[in-house]
C-alpha cells in the first residue's frame, strides 16, 4: 500500500487517481500509524515552502517521514514535496527542510537569464544525469510537466535528472531509498505514469 501524505497542503485528487489508474493501492492519509505500515510513502506539496514545512512539523508528520526513510521505506517527494526533502529553503526567508537529501532550495531567477519567464511552467525534456530505477521506462526525449519558481541547488551528488531552462535545473534527486521529482508525474501523461509505476516497483535500492 502506498501512503500519500495529507498534511493539508494542495490538491491530491490527480495524484491519488493516477496511482489508482496504474493499479496501485493508495491511501491519502495524515495518520502516523497508516504511514508507518505503508510499503511506500509519497510526500506531495504545492504552495510556499515555509507554510508547508510548518504544517509538516505541527502535525508531527516530519518525524514520521524521517522514520519511514530511516526504516528503508521507499519515499518520493513531488514538486514542493521534493524540495522539502532537502536541508533548507530560501523562499521568503530561511526555512529548515527534512534534511533527507543534502541541498537547498533557491530561486530559479538566480540562475536563469533575465528574459526567461518565471515560473518555469510547461512540458520540458528530462535529461537523465544518472540512471535510476524510477526512470527505467524513460526514453530519450521524454518530456514532463513542470510548475515551479524555486529549484534544488547544491544537491549535485543526488541529482538524477535535469531540465534545460536557460540553466540545467534540478528535475529529480535520489539518495538511497529516498527520491524526489520537481515535475508533476501525475500531470505528465504516460511518461509520468511510467515513473509512478516504476516507483511502485522500486524496493529502495540505489
Amino acid at each position: 500500500m502506498i501512503a500519500i501524505i495529507d498534511y493539508g497542503v494542495g490538491n491530491l485528487f490527480s495524484l491519488s487517481h493516477s496511482l489508482t489508474h496504474i493499479g496501485a493501492e493508495v491511501t491519502v492519509t495524515g495518520g502516523a500509524e497508516v504511514i508507518r505500515r505503508a510499503d511506500k510513502v509519497i510526500l506531495p506539496g504545492v504552495g510556499a515552502f515555509g507554510d508547508a514545512a510548518k504544517k509538516l512539523r505541527e502535525t508531527g508528520l516530519d518525524v514520521v517521514v524521517k522514520d519511514a526513510a530511516a526504516a528503508g521505506t521507499p519515499v518520493m517527494g513531488i514538486c514542493l514535496g521534493m524540495q522539502l526533502l532537502l536541508d533548507k529553503s530560501y523562499e521568503f526567508g530561511e526555512h529548515a527542510g527534512l534534511g533527507l537529501i543534502p541541498g537547498e532550495v533557491r530561486p530559479i531567477a538566480e540562475v536563469i537569464p533575465a528574459d526567461y519567464k518565471i515560473p518555469h511552467i510547461g512540458w520540458n525534456r528530462l535529461d537523465i544525469a544518472r540512471p535510476h530505477p524510477i526512470f527505467k521506462r524513460i526514453k530519450e526525449g521524454d518530456c514532463v510537466y513542470f510548475v515551479h519558481s524555486y529549484y534544488g541547488a547544491k544537491c549535485d551528488a543526488s541529482v538524477i535528472a535535469t531540465a534545460e531552462y536557460g540553466a540545467n535545473l534540478t528535475a529529480a534527486v535520489a539518495k538511497g531509498n529516498v527520491c524526489g521529482c520537481q515535475f508533476h508525474p501525475e500531470k505528465s501523461g504516460d511518461v509520468g505514469l511510467g515513473i509512478l509505476k516504476s516507483f511502485c516497483e522500486w524496493r529502495g535500492e540505489a
Binding site: S14, G47, G122, W123, R125, G189
Partner: protein
C-alpha cells in the same frame, strides 16, 4: 527548452461537448471524457474545458464530468466558464482542475483575481480575455464577446497579471471563426506588455497558422483551438511533426 503547447478547447453544456465533433473511430463523440482521453493520447499538452451551462443542474453535471475526466486523463486541465467567486475556484479545483480561467467574473469583480491568486497561487489563475478592435484600439468584451466594456485591453490584461494572474489566454474576436490565422498584431501587443505565458486563441485554420504563430512571435507559449481539432481538419500528431520540422520545439 520548454516546449510550445498545443491546447484543444472543449465547450461543455449539460454534460456534453457542443458544436459536435467528427472523428473516425469514436462512437460517442460528444462525451467529454472520451474526447479528453482521445486528445491526451494524440499528444495534446493540456485541455481546456469551458462550461457554457447556465443552470445550476448543468453546473453540477459539469463538475461531475470534470471529475470523471481527471480520474482518467493525466495532463494539465484548465476550467473556465461561470467562474465568479473564490468558491467557484474551489469547486472545480476539488474535482481535479489544475488551472482556472476567469473572464467576465474578473471584469465584474476586480477582487477575484487577487483573492484567488493569494489562496491558490498565481500558477492556478488564468485571465482569459475576449478582445476586439473598436475605434482604433483594443477593447475588452464581456459575456462571451457580446458586450463592449469600453476598457482598453492591453492595460486591462496587464492589470490582471499585476494582480496575480499567472497566464493569459488572448482570444481575438476579430479573427475568431475566420480561420485566416491567429491575430499576430494583437498577440504581439500582449506579449510586449506581460511577462507571464501567453496562449493564442482565435483564428487557427490549419497547420501553417501555428507555424507562423510560433515563428513570428517566439514569446507566445501555446496555441489553443477548438473546431479545427474537433472536426479533424488538423490532427495534433501531424501538427506537432510540422512544428518540429520548422524548428519549433514541441513534445512528441
Amino acid at each position: 527548452m520548454i516546449t510550445k503547447r498545443i491546447i484543444p478547447c472543449l465547450d461543455v453544456k449539460d454534460g456534453r461537448v457542443v458544436k459536435g465533433v467528427n472523428f473516425l473511430g469514436l462512437a460517442d463523440v460528444s462525451s467529454p471524457v472520451k474526447l479528453a482521453e482521445y486528445y491526451s493520447q494524440c499528444g495534446a499538452d493540456e485541455l481546456v474545458f469551458y462550461d457554457i451551462t447556465a443552470s445550476a443542474e448543468g453546473r453540477a453535471l459539469f463538475t461531475d464530468i470534470l471529475r470523471q475526466v481527471a480520474e482518467r486523463v493525466f495532463i494539465p486541465l484548465t476550467v473556465g466558464g461561470g467562474i465568479n467567486t473564490v468558491a467557484d475556484f474551489d469547486r472545480v479545483l476539488k474535482c481535479g482542475a489544475d488551472k482556472v480561467s476567469v473572464n467576465s467574473g474578473a471584469i465584474r469583480n476586480p477582487d477575484l483575481i487577487p483573492a484567488a491568486a493569494e489562496r491558490y497561487g498565481s500558477q492556478c489563475v488564468v485571465i482569459s480575455a475576449d478582445v476586439k478592435r473598436v475605434d482604433g484600439e483594443f477593447r475588452v468584451f464581456a459575456k462571451g464577446g457580446r458586450e463592449d466594456t469600453g476598457m482598453e485591453a492591453i492595460s486591462w490584461i496587464k492589470k490582471c497579471v499585476d494582480n496575480g494572474a499567472g497566464e493569459v489566454v488572448l482570444n481575438s474576436i476579430d479573427t475568431d471563426g475566420v480561420k485566416g490565422g491567429f491575430d499576430l498584431e494583437m498577440l504581439k501587443a500582449v506579449c510586449d506588455a506581460v511577462s507571464v505565458p501567453v496562449i493564442a486563441s482565435g483564428g487557427a485554420g490549419g497547420v501553417q497558422d501555428f507555424v507562423t504563430l510560433f515563428n513570428t512571435l517566439p514569446k507566445v507559449d501555446a496555441g489553443l483551438a477548438a473546431s479545427i481539432f474537433h472536426f479533424g481538419e488538423v490532427q495534433i500528431p501531424d501538427l506537432k511533426k510540422a512544428l518540429r520540422a520548422n524548428g519549433i520545439n514541441v513534445r512528441l
